[in-house]
Symmetry: C2
Subunit: 259 residues, 2 copies
DNA sequence: CAGTGGTCTAGACCACTGC
DNA sequence: CAGTGGTCTAGACCACTGA
């Protein structure tokens, strides 16, 4: 046995997608059609026909590679993708993660931004959070979270963590948008931001993330941990989870080139 | 029908992994054991038992989430993961992507670095490459590529593209390591690097990448496009493809905090 | 050799979509 | 209603691993 049948079928369909013979948006042949189309691979007689499960295994591979998307009752289609670029580096190390900055950045790229549900909670720090904020695991932290959409499609999940002693007595304690921005609000209370560290990983989404972001099988997420600090200490940790099939992060480092 | 059986099985196993009841490295019950273990879900009589395909569908979900790994003839195991952090920002915008820098960075984190097969080719620019180097599609470019391993495991695939007029007459045309580094070599020929732009995306690997990097199902890759420029023009594009389950990219922006 | 996962078949019934 | 994908079963044979 050279190569499993379902892998051969997947490889053939993948090739057709990559060469453009099956362009984005196009419907694949139905499962029963594929059973017949690839029947000749089974090495059997003339009436050759694959079993449906074999065909479905092949399609599952392509789904998990993010190449196709099955729509119940309608068919299986080659995925289309458009990406949005986030400029994650900033002059002077004082970036803006507030709503206005998001709205401006997206609008510039000709897309429609939306921000949903600013929530504020008080939690205890997980090990991940505690380590980056340089506090103890279990210390209380203020969490401000929101969801962002582009062109009506869920795009990112953002949670910002503040040590309780920093957030206490500021507008961060209120579950509302801060007009002048959180960076300015922190500065007014003696926590001027002078820089940040970004850590970026990619992984497959959790169940909850996949549901909220509307991710099909085979779409990973980009996770960005941004630890902002004053000259003295970390003042904020922002975790962003982005839909991997529609996000690009960009950093400009050093002097700008001649553009 | 509330929720598909195989999804219920996957959800239960996932919960056990997340709570640590099934810690990393542990073997899952065998497929036939799972058939019996979760038989009660089938809503049937006492001898309840799932079909093997149903169990396999459940395991496939966890594999595609990168949570477990099946080893033929041995069993299915909860994945363990260790990550290596790449500091991608650099002082003065003049980073070093050369072998020595890689070796030093990995050694510092107590791991064993290796670099394989430096290759040099001449190709024509794809649209992706041409756009970033600001040349025409189809223009000839010099490509220098290599693979890197950490602790003996394939970790990244790197390809650097240079416009032909920049590479001509330099050591870049030879398929050998450049002792003083490519950045210095370019500077000696009048192309001093003053900054770069990084673009980061994540996606599922191609077939070839999955094979080379030894990625199981459900492991995405991080792809980093670094366009380095002199004051005048782009001088190099480096594309790195990293195993997503063992890589973290980091950027320090602005003034360093008090550490 | 026994036990594990890998591949494949044949057929059943269900749920969703759109005409 | 016909056609699509979603779920599930029962059973077969193969390939790999390790004792």
């Amino acid at each position: 046995m050279a190569e499993a049948l379902y892998r051969q079928v997947a490889a053939d369909l993948r090739a057709k997608i990559n060469t453009g013979e099956l362009p984005p948006g196009i419907q694949l042949p139905s499962e029963s059609a594929l059973e017949r189309l690839y029947g000749h691979l089974s090495g059997s007689r003339g009436d050759a026909k694959l079993s449906r499960n074999t065909v479905r295994l092949a399609i599952a591979i392509l789904q998990n590679e993010g190449l196709v998307e099955a729509r119940h009752g309608r068919g299986t289609f080659v995925r289309e993708r458009v990406t949005f670029t986030v400029l994650a580096s900033a002059e002077e190390g004082v970036e803006v993660t507030d709503r206005d900055a998001f709205v401006a950045a997206v609008s510039v790229q000709g897309r429609k931004p939306e921000q949903l549900g600013l929530r504020m909670e008080i939690r205890t720090a997980s090990p991940e959070v505690a380590e980056r904020l340089r506090i103890e695991e279990g210390d209380t932290v203020v969490v401000r979270s929101m969801n962002r959409l582009i062109d009506g499609r869920p795009w990112s999940i953002q949670e910002s963590f503040y040590p309780m002693d920093i957030a206490a007595g500021t507008l961060l304690m209120s579950p509302q948008n801060i007009e002048h921005g959180t960076v300015t609000e922190l500065r007014r209370h003696g926590h001027g931001q002078v820089g940040y560290r970004d850590e970026i990983v990619c992984r497959m989404p959790t169940q909850a993330e996949a549901v909220f972001l509307g991710l099909g099988a085979g779409v990973p997420v980009l996770e960005l941990f941004r630890t902002a600090h004053s000259p003295d200490r970390p003042i904020r940790l922002t975790i962003n989870v982005y839909a991997g099939d529609s996000t690009q992060l960009a950093y400009n480092i050093g002097e700008p080139g001649n553009e």
